[in-house]
C-alpha cells in the first residue's frame, strides 16, 4: 500500500540537510506552509537557499527562519513589503544574498524544472537591469531573454486536502506556487488541512497528482474553516477577530501566542 502520509510535521521535515535549496510555497501568507516552516526551524537545517515569492512577513514563518540566520540566499520576486523588517535588516547588514527574479519568470522557471525544459526564451524583463548578462534573441521580431530552470532539493507546500497517494487540491488563491514547486523539487513535503480516503478526491479536480508528492502531513483546519466550511471571522492574517460572530474587525489585534520566535 502506498501511504505518503506522515504523523507529524517533525517527521515531515526530517532529513533536510544543511546547504539545501528549499522552495517554499505561498504568496504572502496565502498558501504559506507555516507549520512546515516552524518545523524546519525546529529541525535546525542551516545555510539554506530559499525560493519563495517574498522574503517573509512579520516575525513568523519564513521571517522567523531568516531571523535565526539559517538562510544564506533567497531567490524571490518581491522581498520588500511593509512588514519585511527581518529580511530588510539582514539584507542591509549584508547577511543575506538576494537574487531578484520577475514573478512570472520565477513561476515559469520553476515549471520548466518540473517539466524537463532545458531553458526558454521569455520576453519578460528584456531591456531591464534584471535581464543584464542574459542571452538575448530576436524571435519573430520580438526580443527575448534566455531563462534557465529553477529546481530544489525540497519543496514545502501548503494545500487543502490530500489522499494517501499524495494527490492534492488547494483552496482559492492559496494555490499559487504549490503545483509548480511540487513538480520541481527532489522531495516535496506538503501540509494539508486534512487527509481524505483514497478515491474521495474527484480525479477531474486533482490539481497536483501524487507523483509530485513525497510526504503529506495533516495540520488541521485553518481557523476560518470549520469542517471545510468557510466561517470567516478572521482578519487577513488569519487571526481571530475580536468578535467574530458579529463580524466586527480589529485588524491590528495580535493573536494569542503568535509573538516573535526569538
Amino acid at each position: 500500500m502506498i501511504d505518503k502520509t506522515v504523523g507529524s510535521v517533525e517527521e515531515a521535515v526530517a532529513g533536510i540537510r544543511d546547504g539545501a535549496t528549499i522552495m517554499i510555497g505561498g504568496f504572502g501568507r496565502a498558501g504559506q506552509p507555516v507549520e512546515l516552516i516552524d518545523a524546519l526551524i525546529a529541525q535546525g537545517a542551516s545555510d539554506l537557499t530559499i525560493i519563495n515569492n517574498n522574503a517573509g512577513n512579520g516575525d513568523v514563518g519564513l521571517a522567523a527562519l531568516l531571523a535565526k540566520k539559517r538562510v544564506r540566499k533567497i531567490l524571490c520576486s518581491f522581498p520588500r513589503q511593509h512588514d519585511s523588517w527581518v529580511f530588510d535588516g539582514l539584507y542591509r547588514a549584508g547577511e543575506i544574498e538576494l537574487e531578484l527574479v520577475p514573478q512570472g519568470n520565477l513561476a515559469e522557471r520553476i515549471r520548466a524544472a518540473g517539466a524537463g525544459i532545458g531553458a526558454f526564451f521569455s520576453p519578460t524583463g528584456v531591456g531591464t537591469q534584471l535581464a543584464e548578462g542574459k542571452e538575448i534573441r530576436v524571435i519573430d521580431g520580438r526580443l527575448y531573454a534566455l531563462e534557465y530552470p529553477i529546481k530544489a532539493d525540497v519543496a514545502l507546500v501548503s494545500a487543502y486536502r490530500a489522499d494517501r497517494w499524495g494527490n492534492l487540491v488547494y483552496r482559492e488563491t492559496a494555490r499559487n506556487f504549490g503545483p509548480i514547486m511540487a513538480s520541481a523539487a527532489t522531495t516535496t513535503i506538503v501540509q494539508v488541512d486534512e487527509i481524505v480516503p483514497l478515491g474521495s478526491l474527484d480525479p477531474e479536480s486533482v490539481v497536483t497528482p501524487g507523483i509530485f508528492v513525497d510526504r503529506v502531513v495533516a495540520v488541521g483546519h485553518r481557523s476560518w474553516l470549520d469542517d471545510g466550511s468557510f466561517v470567516g471571522g478572521v482578519d487577513i492574517e488569519g487571526r481571530p477577530l475580536a468578535d467574530a460572530s458579529t463580524g466586527s474587525a480589529t485588524g491590528n489585534r495580535s493573536a494569542t501566542g503568535e509573538g516573535t520566535d526569538q
Binding site: L100, T173, G232, I236
Partner: protein
C-alpha cells in the same frame, strides 16, 4: 497634491480612475495593478461584465468582502482580501503568468514613475542607493496585455514631468505602454511620441508641452497617426 506646481486643471485620482474605467469595454479581461489602478474597479459600470484578473491566480475577481467575511486564502496581487464572482476560476502561478505573457489580457492598468515617448515604462525601482529591490509581477504586467495603460499624475510632487523623452529610472519594460492617463490629460503613445488624446479642463496641447518639456501631437488631428 500638497505642492501645487501647475496652474492647470487637475482631476482627482477618483475622477482619473473613472476616466480609465470609461475606456474599458464590456467583456474585457483586465488586470489592475497595485495602488491607484485598483481604484478603477470602483468605476467599472455595474451593469456590464468586465472580468478582472489577479496574477496570483484568479479570473473573475469580485469586490472586497464584508467585514467578518475576510478569507485569507482569497486575496489579490496586493494581498488585500477580495471575493470571487460566479464564473470565477483559480489557477496556479505559471498558468496565470502564462495568461499574461501570452497576450490574453485585453487591458492592464499600471502606475508609473516615468513613461518615455517610446512607450518605455519605469515603475519598479527609483534606483536609489541602498533601497531594497523588489519587482514582483511588474515586468510581467508591463508586457502582459494587448493594451497597457498607465495611470499617474503628470508631474511629480516637485513638478517634474513623468512623461519623458527617455526614462532615467530603471526600466520595467521597453516600448510596452500604449496609453497614459494623467490628472491633466490622456496621451497615446504613437510612432511620433506622445499624442494628446484628451486634455482635461483648461489644459491645452501647448500647456501640456510646456509642463512636460516634450513635443506633443494631437491624437485627434488627422495625419498625426494611423486610425484608432
Amino acid at each position: 497634491m500638497s505642492t501645487d506646481t501647475s496652474p492647470a486643471t487637475r482631476i482627482t485620482r477618483e475622477q482619473l480612475a473613472a476616466r480609465v474605467a470609461q475606456d474599458i469595454p464590456e467583456g474585457s479581461y483586465v488586470n489592475l495593478g497595485i495602488g491607484a489602478p485598483t481604484l478603477v474597479a470602483d468605476y467599472l459600470p455595474g451593469d456590464q461584465e468586465i472580468i478582472l484578473h489577479t496574477e496570483n491566480g484568479m479570473l473573475g475577481m469580485g469586490p472586497s468582502p464584508e467585514r467578518g467575511q475576510i478569507d485569507p486564502d482569497l486575496i489579490n496581487a496586493g494581498k488585500q482580501p477580495v471575493t470571487a464572482l460566479p464564473g470565477a476560476a483559480y489557477f496556479h502561478h505559471a498558468d496565470s503568468f502564462g495568461m499574461m505573457r501570452g497576450g490574453h489580457l485585453d487591458v492592464c492598468v499600471l502606475g508609473a514613475f516615468q513613461v518615455s515617448q517610446g512607450g518605455d515604462l519605469a515603475n519598479w525601482s527609483t534606483g536609489a542607493p541602498g533601497a531594497i529591490p523588489a519587482v514582483g509581477g511588474a515586468m510581467d504586467l508591463a508586457i502582459g496585455a494587448k493594451n497597457v495603460y498607465v495611470m499617474t499624475d503628470l508631474l511629480t510632487k516637485t513638478g517634474e514631468s513623468k512623461l519623458v523623452e527617455a526614462c532615467t529610472y530603471p526600466l520595467t519594460g521597453v516600448g510596452c505602454v500604449t496609453r497614459v492617463y494623467t490628472d491633466h490629460a490622456v496621451f497615446d503613445i504613437t510612432p511620433e511620441g506622445f499624442a494628446v488624446r484628451e486634455a482635461f479642463g483648461d489644459n491645452t496641447l501647448e500647456l501640456l508641452a510646456e509642463l512636460t518639456g516634450l513635443e506633443l501631437t494631437d491624437a485627434a488631428a488627422p495625419g498625426t497617426r494611423e486610425g484608432e
